[in-house]
Amino acid sequence: MPAGYATARAAVGRLAAVKTPGSSDIRLAVGASTGAAVYSAVFGALAVQSGWSVWQAVAASALVHAGGSQLAGLAALGGGASPVAALAVGTLVNLRLGVFGFALGDVFGSWRDRFAASHLVSDESAGAALTRATAAERRRTFVTVGLILFTGWTAGTLAGAAFGTALPAGARGSLDPAAAAVFAALVVPLVRGVREAATAVAAAGVTVVAAAWAPPGVPVLLGALAVVPAALVRKRVKV
């Protein structure tokens, strides 16, 4: 067995054995992964309709594991863009994942854990982890939600790619309200005062305005800049 493989297995083992997942972690994971599985089934169906093989669709979900960029890349390639342009579009959509990884902060204890767990960073896993108070709780929630979400995402893609023609018309449309509900339910527990509320409102406002003209992925990054004035206000108050 190669040493690198053993090291990776050990790192994943440590991550998975952090603590027995709490029931609230499981509820978070089930809520997030159910929606993600349906969403990924839509991706799988669209990919096969666009000429991808079933295994290419599944490989995309397993290796990329980032829905927005997969759909953006698929649409760009299907629309006649060059592979390099489609890759650039997908990468742009995923830039926010770097900010989510940064926000997770102390969840990853060692470099081996960081290398092993980085693939699980998603809007849902990071968002769920950030609702927890301590580093240990964030780590446990992140790993639980991340692994279940990854499984649901990949399995959903396989189902959508294999049985896509049987998927009800408008499935994506009926899923959209649930996706909106997921992130609203995640952000509310984090709003504990006027400062957080003002930041959330400002971030949402900037994002909505930016979404009208900016390419996918950029509005979220611009919305995240709402933390800057909030931090400056705090700094001035402290002085």
């Binding site: 290796l63 990329v64 960081r114 767990a117 449309g173 003209w213 509005p219």
Partner: protein, 101 residues
């Protein structure tokens, strides 16, 4: 070939973006943990990020869609009282009903 290039390239760039964020957080290091974690931008970053992602769900391409807004508001009201999963179900149901209606 173009499809595999996209999949492989996106897998690599996405992993590097994720790892870059995590690595930056690690470089911030121990001095960012503890009390200082609650301060400044890093403490507010999750709020801003999640609010921004929620906004993109409610208003795709900047166009606010009433069923999605109602779903998000219903989930936001329900989350502190009922918990995460019931809040999603409540919001999703409200949004779906308004969509169909």
């Amino acid at each position: 070939m173009a499809i595999w290039f996209l999949i492989g390239g996106l897998a690599v760039t996405t992993y590097l973006v994720r790892l870059g964020g995590v690595a930056l957080a690690a470089r911030r290091g121990a001095k960012a943990s503890g009390e200082s974690r609650a301060d400044g931008m890093v403490a507010l970053l999750p709020v801003a990020l999640l609010a921004a992602v929620a906004a993109t769900q409610v208003a795709p391409q900047g166009d606010v869609r009433p069923p999605l807004l109602c779903a998000a508001l219903a989930a936001a009201v329900a989350a502190p009282r009922l918990g995460f999963l019931p809040a999603i179900l409540t919001g999703g149901t409200v949004g779906a009903l308004i969509t169909w209606w």
